[in-house]
């Protein structure tokens, strides 16, 4: 579409991952690690520094307190000597806390395999579907898109552009059409054409709008008329910029739409999505992918270890 896209596409995935991180680093310095790498004697000041870093990464008060308690306990037992060993211990702790979220995303037997994509407004659902379509095609799957966001202006056109880009069929109806019926049609169309995966877009909705949340249950029911086991995955898209409200989003969407996995977008910015730690504590769900940009290659499997390191920019 524009130079920006092609520019990003020309680089390899790893290069882009590290360049995204480097961008963050150069802008905001080395965060806490530069302070600690000097092997300073471990003291209250350093612990406070670490607390600050966690809170500023949206880790939240409760999860931060828990991490710092663990750390203080290790300090009292004289297991940690200096700042650097404290940082290492903290990274390890965080990595372990989010490790249960790391899980490979797999398309399994039911055909078509229906993936419903849900989330609040503006988190990047449609873009994520474009990227996911590309990812699944790279894995050798055939894909079809369902333009289930019939509400937002030009959402259908936006998905059609992605369909064109990734070379897949997009099933759509008029704006304002019934979302459930669009998705049902798409599932039938995929079956008729022997396509393996249906990626269904839905309109963004705030989780406190109970009538809009109820619509998600309706979509599920209608899809189940075709295949009682569908949707086979319901992915909730979370925006890395969102703070503690993400926890409520997970709770409410889980209740209304039986969410089976998460995708965190916009991690290429300066926001760190520390709230993932809170989610790991409250509502652990597989976090399949993270979004790192606007082009089709910018979708990465979540890596707990890389995430733990990323919180401290090292």
């Amino acid at each position: 579409m524009n130079e920006k896209t092609s520019r990003a596409q020309s680089k390899g995935i790893l290069t882009r991952f590290s360049s995204a991180l480097a961008k963050t680093r150069s802008q905001f310095g080395n965060g806490v690690s530069s302070l600690l790498l000097g092997r300073r004697q471990l003291d209250e000041h350093i612990l406070e520094e670490l607390r600050t870093q966690l809170l500023m990464s949206d880790v939240g008060v409760a999860a931060t307190d828990r991490l710092l308690d663990n750390l203080s306990r290790a300090v009292r037992k004289k297991k940690l000597r200096d700042g650097e060993s404290a940082l290492q211990a903290l990274r390890l702790d965080i990595g372990q806390a989010v490790a249960p979220l790391q899980k490979e995303f797999k398309v399994s037997a039911p055909r078509p395999f229906v993936i419903l994509v849900v989330g609040v407004n503006g988190v990047g659902k449609t873009t994520t579907i474009g990227k996911l379509s590309h990812h699944l095609q790279n894995q050798g799957h055939s894909v079809l898109l369902a333009a289930g966001d019939t509400y937002r202006a030009a959402a259908i056109e936006q998905l059609q552009v992605w369909g064109h880009r990734t070379g897949v069929i997009v099933i759509s109806q008029r704006p304002g059409a019934d979302s459930a019926s669009v998705i049902h049609d798409a599932v039938e169309a995929a079956a008729a054409r022997d396509i393996e995966v249906v990626l269904a877009d839905t309109a963004g909705r705030l989780q406190n709008k109970s009538n809009l949340m109820a619509e998600l249950s309706k979509i599920r029911r209608v899809v189940q008329r075709y295949d009682a086991s569908a949707p086979h995955e319901t992915l909730l898209v979370l925006d890395a910029n969102i703070g503690q409200n993400a926890i409520t989003q997970v709770q409410e969407f889980k209740e209304a739409a039986n969410v089976s996995g998460l995708i965190v977008t916009k991690l290429d910015g300066s926001a760190k999505a520390g709230v993932i730690l809170g989610i790991a504590e409250e509502d652990p769900l597989p976090l399949y992918f993270v979004g790192l940009g606007e082009s089709q290659d910018d979708l990465q499997p979540f890596d707990a270890h890389a995430y733990a390191n990323g919180l401290f920019d090292s």
Partner: protein, 449 residues
Amino acid sequence: MFDNLTNKLTQTFSGIRTRKLTENNVAEAIREVRTALLEADVALEVVIPFVEAVRKKSVGREFVASVRPGDMFVKFVHDELVSLMGTEVSSLELRASKKPAVILMAGLQGTGKTTTVAKLARYLQNEQEQKVATVSADVYRPAAIEQLRVLSEAANAHFIATTADEQPVKIVKNAVSVTQDLGFDTLIVDTAGRLAIDDDMMAEIRELHDSLQPSETLFVVDAMTGQDAAKTARTFDRVLPLTGVVLTKADGDARGGAALSVRAITHKPIKFLGTGESIDGLELFHPDRLASRILGMGDILGLVEEAEKKVDVDASERVVKRMLRGTTFTFDDMREQIKQMSDMGGMASVLSRLPTAPNVKVKETDDDVIRKHAIIIDSMTAKERAFPNLLNIPSRKKRVAAGSGTRIQDVNFTIRKFKQMQKATKRLGRMGRSSKMLAQLEQMMGENK
């Protein structure tokens, strides 16, 4: 958390008998404030000086016996919030000397810039009778231009067509000259969402700004934003001379700490709240009300103002007078209440402005229930509305159910609600008008969980 901060703070002082706030007896309350602000996503760098200021103000203060220390402390927090957020409501300042006056939108991806452009266009046309044009310089996101076209049409604003192969700077230059020729008052420029750390894209918006010389450069921020709101706002404010902020998705259940962060860091006024996806979901921002909302004191001012604007004063006076006289509460009165409530934007909108009192969780379906009450009442005869006992007759009930397309059970439910309200009204004789309304709201909502 925010909702009951006041209660929590009052509780932390409940054991305190002295007439002086000391370092020791405010420590716990300070921690509560700090936690509540962080949980509400206020940036840490804003929280720290904030609680420090509250601590300084409160420690060492003596007070008279009639004041509870908790209330005193709450007042200090309130004052500090007000001094941070300011008290003035600020609207758009569009230079009349320059036609068209330009509004430039800026922000991260997905914050709601395009929707806000359409809402602003509608606002300026309706409230200020301006001739408004819109243009999109978002050549990156697929169908972003089409989205603005559709929304502008809905807002009745003139949309200047562009394509994704054009250069953003050329797009805006052209838009200015076109709108100048056609005599438009205001041009609103939508831009692509961009990350604050994307130097190329930040340079691009700077260039757009230099070329446009806008009257207003509005930073659009999602009310759900976390800690990073501070960094992002700082970078946008450094690159662009921002003139104000629009806080979007404010109808969600996020506590909106980003409003405090952005204000504290940029010192720019929050001018509008975006609420909902429909094109009229834009409100002026009242900073003083935010303070009350954070503390859980409720947005009484907002409710009163809204009520005065929309409610038929005569009708509500009639209802109140009847109540005060103790005249029987009839279905007509209930219908009147429902009408007033929906005029004020429904149950959730009314309750969100009241103090902590309502101990009921508002669901949007509550409004559906109430709408159903209205339909059922509308299917009654005038006589039935005035003499509710007539509805004890089964054939009448059946007729009302058929007329309203509901079931007998629904009619029974409405009658039961009505009787509860009638009973409550009798008890309300000596209450003030607003608490009476609240009590009735609670009646109407309770039990249908």
